[in-house]
């Protein structure tokens, strides 16, 4: 078991190394390299996956509304930050709403407001929806996400959201480092939340609601809290997505996106922030990069390899997902977080019979040997 001091030193070194990797990739690869794409897109998915895990994995509230909150955040950001000069061009068909014509906020303000608006929306629908049993709660949140998608595209809002045309000329990242910076801070906050007393209360609700209530935890208040906080970060994730894509339409955030994120969370392990982050990058890399070869016809020794053509990549990916869901429900990390002790044990090939719970060291428990 390492001392607290040596653990801290290891953490600092690891973070510095990570920063170094990001820096190198930033300096030495071209702006269109696949590695960059995977890192940037992966980090956005990491943020949204962790926000979903906060709700689904840690508090046990099975929500399928993530895409809806991302959409709220993305549209808030886009609407408020498109440069004034470009607005008439973007809103060429309907014209800009008068209140918005002269408004263009700096990116950081847009990001913050994206989160705030998403969490406000969550606060409003949370009160009635959180009372529902788990299956119904899932469907209700799905319903709300669909409502958001349809309303955003609807004609009364044309002068704000530009209806089905969507918004373009959305400002991009100020610098290559922006998404990593924002995602790092957001995830760090969520890590700190889960390590606080409130985070423990969320876990108690997941484990046994009735016992949690018997221990004095106000279910409605804490569920609402988890829901609002999760949506806040989902909103920021949506805004980051808008900055990445530079253009959004009502179809940018379909239910399919929520499924994608859910599957990332499952692969990483429901209840593990580390898992969600790792899975987000793995899945993005696999989907966007490593499995791309499956989409291209391949000839080996004169024979056309069957099955390989456009779309096969996603089929293989879906099958891998089903395999994880069926045979590896724990996912990569289960409910554990990364810890130096756990890593040492893993490297030494030791197995522990009793899995320690979360402690106040970096992250928490141990990787199951």
């Amino acid at each position: 078991m390492m001392t607290k001091k040596s653990k801290r030193i290891c953490t600092v070194i690891a973070l510095a190394a990570l920063a170094g990797v990001i820096f190198c990739i930033g300096e030495f690869t071209s702006t269109s390299s696949m590695l960059r794409t995977v890192l940037q897109l992966g980090s956005i998915y990491a943020l949204v996956a962790v926000s979903m895990n906060l709700l689904n994995g840690f508090t046990g509230l099975f929500s399928l509304g993530q895409a809806g909150f991302m959409a709220v955040g993305a549209y808030t950001f886009a609407v408020l930050t498109i440069p004034v000069a470009y607005k008439p061009g973007v809103y060429y068909l309907y014209g800009v709403a008068d209140a918005l014509a002269g408004v263009s906020l700096p990116n950081w303000a847009g990001l913050l407001l994206a989160g705030v608006l998403a969490s406000l929306f969550a606060a409003v629908i949370g009160a009635p929806v959180l009372r529902l049993k788990s299956d119904y709660f899932a469907i209700a949140t799905l319903g709300f996400a669909e409502i958001v998608r349809i309303v955003v595209a609807s004609s009364p809002l044309n002068r704000v959201t530009n209806g089905s045309l969507g918004l373009n000329s959305v400002p991009g990242y100020g610098s290559y480092y922006t998404p990593f910076f924002v995602v790092f801070i957001c995830i760090a906050i969520m890590v700190m939340l889960m390590r606080s007393s409130y985070g423990r209360a969320f876990k108690a609700i997941r484990e046994d609601e009735i016992a949690a209530e018997a221990m004095g935890i106000n279910l409605a208040k804490h569920k609402q809290m988890a829901f609002v906080i999760s949506s806040f970060f989902a909103g920021i994730g949506g805004a980051l997505m808008a900055m990445y894509l530079r253009a959004i339409t009502p179809t940018t955030f379909p239910v399919l996106l929520t499924y994608n994120i859910l599957l990332i969370v499952v692969i990483g392990g429901m209840g593990s922030i580390t898992g969600s982050v790792i899975a987000a990058f793995l899945v993005t890399a696999a989907k966007e990069w490593w499995l791309r070869f499956l989409d291209v016809p391949m000839v080996i020794g004169g024979f056309q390899v069957p099955l390989l053509r456009t779309g096969f990549r996603m089929v293989v990916f879906s099958i891998i997902l089903m395999l994880v869901v069926l045979f590896w429900r724990r996912g990569i990390m289960g409910q554990n977080e990364f810890s130096w002790d756990g890593l040492c044990r893993l490297l030494r090939g030791e197995r522990r019979k009793k899995r320690p719970g979360s402690k106040n060291s970096v992250g928490g428990g141990a990787v199951n040997g």
Binding site: G216, I217, G357
Partner: protein, 281 residues
Amino acid sequence: MAKDMRENVLRLSDVTMQFGGVVAVNNLNMEVNRGEIVGLIGPNGAGKTTVFNVITGVYAPTNGAVALNEKTILENFPQGKMKTMYKGENAGKYGKVQLLSPDKITKMGVARTFQNIRLFKELSVFENVLIAKHMNIKANVFSATFMLNHREEKQMQEETMELLKLLDLEKNKDDVATSLPYGKQRHLEIARALATKPQLLLLDEPAAGMNPQESDDLMHFIGSIRDDFSLSILMIEHHMQVVMGVCERIYVLDYGALIAEGTPSEVQNNPKVIEAYLGVD
């Protein structure tokens, strides 16, 4: 100390609990006074855990009232469909509706354990007890997240460790709750309930699954926590040794109705109780 000189902590007045057409608890009048250890016994299915569920707010009573420290905290009378379906007594006696959720009742100082153990399974022993301290936290979610309340957090953790030591769970502090042997899981349930700093502790079959030596230790343990933590205790139990050994008064329930009450010796010799059941031990 004579019973009438002690102040009352818990009083159930005409509490009836009816589920659909089934009367689970029938017109129960019961009290626990400060510092007492009171037993609640009866055959399986007599409605004992239902009584606990009513006291702790899990179920709203169909009729009757519950008072804590002489102040009514729960009250109800037959409403809606129940008006016509009600099979119990004293239907007209109660006019107000006062219901509280379980967390509020716990905050008032009533803690309970569960018959079937409801630990936070995947969490550690330490966390199970520590979570019970959350209800008294003063910091809001922002302060707690950004660790501005580290003094409070430290205190909660120290208190948790003391409780673990007291219940001989110190060595298991990082073990996952479900990995503990059954007896220790029961100890953990009690530690968790104590962490809420209750004035009234409801124990639901604390000795279940214990061998005679363990139940003997438990008996003494219950007595000592009553003294050390200034508790009043209401206990459901089937182990007659434990009940007769540590309870000062006993209520006997059968088919939801009170059939006897009194001191252990009075109850033991009560023909109605003997007829209904005298627990095998």
